[in-house]
């Protein structure tokens, strides 16, 4: 495969690049980048290409942004076991539709990904049916039961890029300590779903006046903050690498900020687009599509998350893509499963941070591609357009408004609280695994 993309406005923080270029892709890798330093030189290069005998495709990216393919380190692909909600095939289709070319899939499948066998299954399925790269995250504990460590080393050998019991916390502090200590054998990344189950028990939305007047059990912000404080302390104790998943409260951001100041080195954190875009009010009318864990919080928390992104306390934007079947989501609010199908609204929602001057374009791409790639140890090949890296990229149209319609989603999960929203950023072309996807 040989592809030339011309007139690329590249935003690539990994090369500190915000420039107009042409990109040459060959055999699934970035071969060359030519900056348009002067107009004349670019044309000269073009004609050089044209005289070459080899056949190539040309895409003109004029008027659009070209970014490294986004790296989403928190996605639920549901396979094996919950194929009625999503499969590796449909989930990765949704990813590339959203401009995401690498995903990390969480282990709360059925069976849980707590053995090399399941890890290998996921990798094999991806090769057969995946539209983009998939990096499995293995369970920390066997069956995610929170009782015994899973075979982290063997899973790592089989291809697990990080470990998490996501969906659930590791409640037992001693076990979490051991996991962080043991993970040091390969400097493995431990991703924490921070939720004190006792405080959160039975809760279905944020605790506050709204939950009381809706007659719904609430989850207090402290359920998240207590566990983040604990995990930070354990990371400090053990020297393990800790990544906090889906940060949602002002108090959590404050804890992370303090830890950062104190220089506890290997702690990183992510948040999701819904936590910087909507509040608990979205649940009004008992809208099951707004039911998510951690729950949507208050305006104060949303502001704090945005501030945390702005000042670098939060390193990564990930989706926590959690597709569910529509029958499940339209049950009674108490009984509906938590989760938002987020792969296909992520870039659109996140671009609003740039419009609102919370992040610069470069910072945005950093949080959605470069930094997650770095944390996962993939920065040679992913999250970058450096020559030699994988040819994973997205040509993004940021000029034309569109309306979010779940019926358009490639994901099986149509559960989004953003139905009907007007957004501006949408992939025009995504390139991943050697394939070019052109979107309407």
């Amino acid at each position: 495969m040989r592809l030339l993309i011309t007139n690329c406005h590249i935003i690539d923080p990994s090369q500190d690049m915000d420039a107009l270029c042409d990109i040459l892709i060959e055999d699934r890798q970035i071969k060359e980048i030519h900056e348009h330093k002067t107009k004349g030189k670019a044309q000269k290069n073009n004609s050089e290409q044209k005289t070459s005998a080899r056949e190539q495709e040309i895409i003109d990216a004029k008027g659009m942004l070209v970014l490294p393919g986004l790296v989403d380190m928190h996605v639920h692909l549901r396979e094996p076991g919950f194929e009625y909600k999503e499969t590796i095939r449909t989930g990765t289709e949704a990813a590339v539709h959203g401009g995401i070319t690498s995903v990390c899939c969480m282990p709360n499948t059925n069976p849980v990904n707590d053995t090399p066998g399941i890890t290998e299954f996921i990798i094999r399925k991806t090769i057969q049916e995946g539209s983009c790269s998939v990096f499995p995250i293995g369970a920390i504990t066997k069956g995610q039961k929170g009782e015994e460590l899973a075979e982290l080393g063997m899973m790592h050998d089989a291809g697990c890029i990080a470990f998490s019991d996501d969906g659930r916390p590791v409640m037992d502090s001693l076990l979490m300590r051991r996991a962080l200590e043991y993970s040091r054998i390969r400097k493995m990344l431990i991703i924490s779903h921070a939720e004190d189950l006792a405080l959160a028990e039975g809760g279905v939305m944020n605790e506050g006046l709204l939950s009381i007047t809706m007659g719904l059990k609430g989850i207090p912000a402290q359920a998240e903050e207590i566990m983040i404080a604990r995990d930070i302390a354990l990371a400090e104790l053990t020297g393990g690498r800790l990544h906090i998943a889906h940060v949602s409260t002002a108090g959590s951001v404050e804890l992370l900020r303090t830890a950062r100041k104190r220089g506890i080195a290997e702690i990183t954190a992510e948040t999701c687009p819904h936590y910087f875009s909507i509040t608990e009010e979205a649940v009004s009318g008992y809208n099951g599509n707004a039911k998510v864990n951690p729950p949507l919080r208050t305006r104060k928390d949303v502001e704090a998350i945005r501030q945390g992104l702005h000042d670098g306390t939060i390193d990564v934007i990930a989706t926590d893509h959690a597709p569910h079947h529509k029958d499940e989501k339209s049950a009674e609010f108490d009984n509906a499963p938590s989760g938002i199908s987020g792969l296909e609204t992520s870039i659109g929602l996140s671009m609003r941070l740039v419009d609102d001057a919370v992040l610069t374009l470069k910072e945005l791409v950093g949080k959605m591609a470069c930094t997650p790639a770095r944390i996962l140890g993939l920065s040679d090949t992913k999250g970058t357009l450096r020559p030699g890296a994988d040819a994973d990229l997205v040509i993004l149209n940021t000029k034309k408004e569109y309306t979010v319609a779940a019926s358009d989603f490639r994901s099986k999960g149509k559960n989004t609280p953003f139905e009907g929203w007007t957004l501006k950023a949408r992939p025009a072309v995504t390139i991943a695994r050697g394939r070019i996807y052109t979107w309407e």
Binding site: T213, G215, F333
Partner: protein, 307 residues
């Protein structure tokens, strides 16, 4: 005047005018209940379905009597014996009920928000008979009707609600209705049952029952669910009664002509002393009678709203 919505799901959605209209209509229906022939043909030919997912004798019977007095046909679906046990979804049950020709569906469910879901998905009128810990609008309406009957009006009335406010749909509907109509509401109980943020609803909060009952016109006692003891909301029923049980002495703190209310069923000796429940100030049985008149008014008024 018509109600604005075909459904009666929450007091939060009703204006003060609509509440007043329902109470006045209920007065007209109370007249009907005083006659020999306690029946009027107003809703003849309509079908009311009682869809009770939670067991309930008093509320269901009250709705059944009200519906029959209006000459509607009544179908009772008690879901413990129905297809719901076999796993039928709420939506499928609702559509089946509609296909049976229901004009009005009265629903009680342990999950908050269920009547809202139903109302969005079927054309019939939906009346909320209690959803989870959210609301019990007809209970609040009959409570207000009773207060009006004995006290003349709601504006400026001092009402104390005592007990597990957090989990009580009766308390919540009453708080919304009373504040909308200008009453002064006090909540009395342990902090585990009364979160601070409730102050934002415009009520006063007391943990000391003696201080809280000082000078009130109405004492509304709530039923304590004994399961809450196991979850740490209060240490024992003995301690609960000592601090927040309604004794004759505590009744003495209220105004001389204060009335005592309870949505029933009562836990004698836990939230209310036996002799107080049976005293002349108790209007608990009037609440039951008024419940039928109020529910007749509600059924009549919702069926008058056309799409």
């Amino acid at each position: 005047m018509n109600l604005r919505s075909k459904d009666l799901i929450s007091i939060k959605d009703l204006s003060a005018e609509e509440i007043g209209h329902i109470l006045e209509t209920a007065a007209g229906f109370k007249d009907v209940l005083g006659r020999d022939i306690k029946k009027v043909p107003a809703l003849r030919g309509k079908t009311t379905v009682n869809l009770f997912y939670e067991p309930s004798t008093r509320t269901r019977t009250s709705f059944e009597v009200a519906a029959k007095r209006l000459s509607t046909d009544v179908i009772n679906i008690a879901t413990s014996t129905s297809s719901v046990v076999k796993g039928e979804t709420l939506l499928d049950t609702a559509k089946t009920v509609l296909a049976l020709g229901a004009d009005i569906v009265v629903i009680r469910h342990k999950c908050s928000g269920t009547p809202h879901f139903l109302a969005r998905n079927i054309d019939a009128s939906v009346v909320n008979a209690g959803d989870g810990t959210n609301e019990h609008p007809t209970q609040a309406l009959l409570d207000l009707f009773t207060m009006k009957e004995f006290k003349g009006g709601i504006q400026g009335l001092d009402v104390a609600i005592v007990g597990d406010i957090l989990h009580s749909r009766v308390a919540k509907s009453n708080i919304y209705a009373l504040t909308k109509l200008g009453a002064k509401v006090r909540l009395i109980g342990p902090p585990t049952f009364i979160p601070d943020c409730l102050k934002d609803l415009g009520v006063d909060i007391y943990t000391d029952m003696n201080a809280g009952l000082e000078g009130v016109d109405v004492i509304m006692m709530l039923r304590i669910q004994l399961e809450r003891q196991g979850k740490g909301f209060f240490p024992s029923t003995h301690e609960y009664f000592r601090n927040w049980g309604l004794t004759a002495a505590r009744v003495g703190r209220a105004k001389k002509d204060a009335i005592i209310m309870h949505p029933g069923p009562m836990n004698r000796g836990i939230e209310i002393a036996s002799e107080v429940a049976d005293s002349s100030r108790s209007v608990i049985l009037d609440q039951v009678t008024n419940g039928i008149a109020v529910r007749m008014a509600v059924l009549y008024l919702v069926s008058g709203v056309r799409g």
